[in-house]
Symmetry: C2
Amino acid sequence: MPARRFTVLLAHELAWFRQCLIGRPFVGYQCATGQELAVTRPKHRPLTLRDVSEACGVSEMTVSRVLRNRGDVSAATREKVLAAAKALGYVPNQIAGSLASQRVNLVAVVIPSLSNMVFPEVLTGINRTLDDTPLQPVVGVTDYLPEKEEQVLYEMLSWRPSGVIIAGLEHSDATRAMLTNAGIPVVEIMDTDGTPVDSMVGISHRRAGRKMAEAILKQGFSRIGFLGTKMPLDHRARKRFEGFTEGLTKAGIEIEDREFYNGGSALAKGREMTQTMLERSPDLDFLYYSNDMIGAGGMLWLMDQGVDIPGEVGLAGFNGVELLEGLPRQLATMDACRAEIGEKAAQIILDRSAALDTEDSFEPEHITLAPKISYGQTLRRHGQG
Amino acid sequence: MPARRFTVLLAHELAWFRQCLIGRPFVGYQCATGQELAVTRPKHRPLTLRDVSEACGVSEMTVSRVLRNRGDVSAATREKVLAAAKALGYVPNQIAGSLASQRVNLVAVVIPSLSNMVFPEVLTGINRTLDDTPLQPVVGVTDYLPEKEEQVLYEMLSWRPSGVIIAGLEHSDATRAMLTNAGIPVVEIMDTDGTPVDSMVGISHRRAGRKMAEAILKQGFSRIGFLGTKMPLDHRARKRFEGFTEGLTKAGIEIEDREFYNGGSALAKGREMTQTMLERSPDLDFLYYSNDMIGAGGMLWLMDQGVDIPGEVGLAGFNGVELLEGLPRQLATMDACRAEIGEKAAQIILDRSAALDTEDSFEPEHITLAPKISYGQTLRRHGQG
DNA sequence: CTGAAAGCGCTAACAG
DNA sequence: CTGTTAGCGCTTTCAG
């Protein structure tokens, strides 16, 4: 009887059939009607513990122990198992492992954007702490949209991660509920002006704005413009702005002019906005930018115009981005401690997930970092001020 | 008999015991010796399908169907189930779902770095395509280290993702073996100068270098310096360099001077290197930078020095970063098509994983995008050139 | 030190 | 349209 390449099998036949396929390119199969069939092997069936077990003649359980370095296994067995696993190219199935062990070595990291270098830097900090630990970060991006945050968090929680690191303290009710009920450590990062669900690590943006206002006033500037992002959902930028006006108000001063932008190349926008503002309010003697990129754009524009910085106009930004180092003049700024925030947040998750094993209990941690002003060459009016 | 807070249970008791805990803060338990115990409920047991099933009086299977929108379910039952799931705050367990269904909606994305904005942009492209599909990207970072690439890939494959998107064509033997044997679609991105394991999407960096050489020569420049990254493992930068020298060689010209850097702020390094090179080789009339950031730094330095660009010295970079738009002068560059690469790569994975369901077979796709030179204001010597 | 048994929470396949 | 059954590949638990 000639071999055919394809046939339909009943379900229970198929189950048995798959057993036959292990490790063979194809298999001859005598089906119920007595027909002899040649069937192509399924393209790829990933190896299982059982395959390794059969290859080295050791029970699945022992293989598992060797591969996880758990429990005592004789050196001889260990060698045998490792050799077999390597020879076969076995890659353990974490899905099955996590289901069985009820522990998942993933940490959900939820951030608003990747385009703003701030967040890749936080991730770098998280990576640094989590490298050389079993924990692994998984990133979700929300585009600053609360609905998307909800959705992203939901999807991440459905993987039952060991912890959540999430940017900001402002969330929808649903998001907050999920965080509260997830039963895993949650660290809210970047911002500490508010009440976290659990732990938090960040800086006070309100205080940052206030401190910058104080520094500016101390240098004798008084006719101040603010340039920032329009995004109503960037709560941290908003809080900096609020803290800033608050700081000025305490000294009886008000912002003279303000300008907001949305999208586009930040550097180019900084130029445009600065031009617009100075044409509208030529009397200004200081410009405070809500981030370094637009600040740098503004600075470049002013230099093009031959404006004396900080003699005629002083400048400051926010974030302490590396880029500033290469600019013709060092822009005053404030470091947002991004990498450190990432490291500390990851450390909290790490400590807590270790504590779960030892049944220790942990209190929520609230860490507020204090960013320092870097005066650069655009804020100090009088010598070493 | 007084209630105690803690006790030791035999294993089989515990199993039964857990049933009692469902939905209750604590439970009275009559153990084998007749003792009545009050036991605190475990901190948190995530809800299961069974909980929802019990809450709404519908079989687990039907609940599952409703939650996945699979198969026909009567509107009435659907409503009931959805209401119960929502009320309880049920979040499905993907770990279990993936194990049972043998399909994991994750796409592994392996890239060398997050600090270089190129990669976040590729990710944005991938996200854009994968949004509104069940597939979800998971990112791993290799720091340009082959060993780390191996390790990261191994960990990602252990989650049995639906596909892999990985930067570059150069990998260790082990990495290549894993990619070949994973049995899932693999797309190697960014570069097309070489042989992929499966599919690839990118640009030819060799050709990019060559084209830039041709453009420079056509503008009449002839004493050319190259400034680039020292990283021997950035194969794409290397290939651009090779293509560049090749292009010059064809015209009988050789690079006059070269300078390489490592780490630090790219903008600042661009300044330094440019200064170093021009002091060493003052005759140069063109500088080709291996990326836009160092190019921008060089440009800023030259402008500080009052050098006429491109009259005295022409400049070009590579990548087409958004930043350039805000610079005092538009740097010539070449777009690396980053977002498009991300989109196309994700699309390939998407098509293939759909094809797996319909049993269609797919050929590897090799997509080479053609980056265009943007002349800016630093490359054209003679009017519109 | 090693093995056998019993699930983890869900879904595919089939039977009503 | 809905329910039942039998695993997915691994680890936990307990018994040698």
